[in-house]
Symmetry: C2
Subunit: 236 residues, 2 copies
């Protein structure tokens, strides 16, 4: 099947979690907005197509199905792309981990937009500094140490017992946080050796390595979810 991925052009954003799964699996897919422009997304959001009405991108068209929400798209693609171990225990484990990754992503976004996604960062600098401090000191360590514990527990019983879309998403999470919060991530480095090793293994996978070198991988930037502002990640 040829999948159609719909996500805004110009940023990695939440679409990147889906893109990494499609790329890693070598799936046949069309990155629709990059071909036809963001208008193709708007038509779906405006209800001009059959099937489920997405609230926001990313969404995936798979045959007649329209699937929105990153975690739901990956729950759909995982078994179909061989990106989750077999069995319901592993599938539900992968889903809950992906949701938790989604929660960190939301919180990383809100460090630069704590008041309104519809306003510029520059309009909310003061609360952004406060929220980013809490994120760096409390939330980021809590989430990353959680994932470190999950990998450590592994032992073949869990979703992370072999390669899965959760691995790809953890790679993306770590990459984004490294970009946005280099100093905070440097301070965490020694405490998350398993997560670091996992991210490196993912980066070395042939399809991922090729993708990261390609023009399809948009660079992190200050229109995306993971943004680097010095005020939000001071050196000490």
């Amino acid at each position: 099947m040829r999948y159609e991925l719909y996500y805004w052009t110009g940023i990695q954003g939440r679409g990147e979690f889906v893109r990494l799964a499609l790329e890693d699996a070598g799936a046949d897919y069309l990155d629709v907005a990059r071909k036809r422009g963001d208008k193709a997304i708007m038509n779906y959001l405006d209800g001009m197509h059959d099937g489920a009405l997405p609230f926001a991108p990313p969404f995936l068209k798979a045959g007649r199905l329209v699937i929105a929400q990153t975690g739901t798209i990956l729950a759909y693609l995982g078994p179909r792309l061989g990106l989750v171990p077999g069995g319901e225990a592993a599938e539900f484990h992968a889903q809950q981990l992906q949701q938790t990754i989604g929660d960190v992503v939301m919180e990383a976004h809100d460090t630069h937009h704590p008041i309104a996604a519809s306003q510029y960062y520059e309009e909310q600098r003061a609360p952004a500094r406060k929220r980013a401090k809490v994120f760096r000191e409390e939330r980021l360590p809590k989430f990353l140490l959680y994932f470190e514990s999950v990998i450590e527990r592994g032992n073949g019983r869990q979703a992370l017992s072999r390669h899965s879309y959760v691995d790809l998403s953890l790679f993306q999470l770590v990459s984004g946080l490294d970009y946005a919060f280099p100093y905070a991530m440097q301070r965490m480095r020694g405490r998350i050796p398993r997560l670091r090793a996992l991210a490196e293994r993912v980066a070395d996978r042939p399809n991922i390595a090729a993708y990261l070198q390609s023009a399809r991988r948009v660079a992190f930037n200050e229109q995306g979810i993971f943004r680097h502002y010095r005020a939000l990640d001071p050196a000490s």
Copy 2:
């Protein structure tokens, strides 16, 4: 099967979305923390049990499975409790709608805690007023009108074509927003007739009506996710 639900005592919180599904289906379940205290939750978060490690409650124990994250729990329970129409199109549609409900819930929470969940509302009143204004004027209408459109499109093709866990969650969402933002919800009333009708139908379902009258339904309060603070929902 006897399910075990783990969620903090004293509040409805995210656990309520799971509780409503179990109650509506007349499922056999134990609300563990209400029986044994919140310590029972902490033991899981501290990794003292087998199975998946939850990041936070709610989580559900179903036989040997431990499933965390509200949306994932409902994706698991839906087909087992007869709370989602058959077929993968309906299941994935339900999942994506539930994720979107989860997103509103997160945003409703952040109106009173825009800076730090770990600090009191009283410590973040000023940014809370700003974020709540954006929520009332932009986000709440956008989300509710989206759900209204989804119901309107229905026509038997979608998850909401017959009773599902999404209906129950929409009821809970509307109830929580009515509690937290009565004025803003009053202003929305005429624009969401289908969503209002759906919430009323859910409230009238025999098992739900009995549950809402029972002591098991904890009242909304200012320790929960949906909180009523006059400063965050002015009369005009």
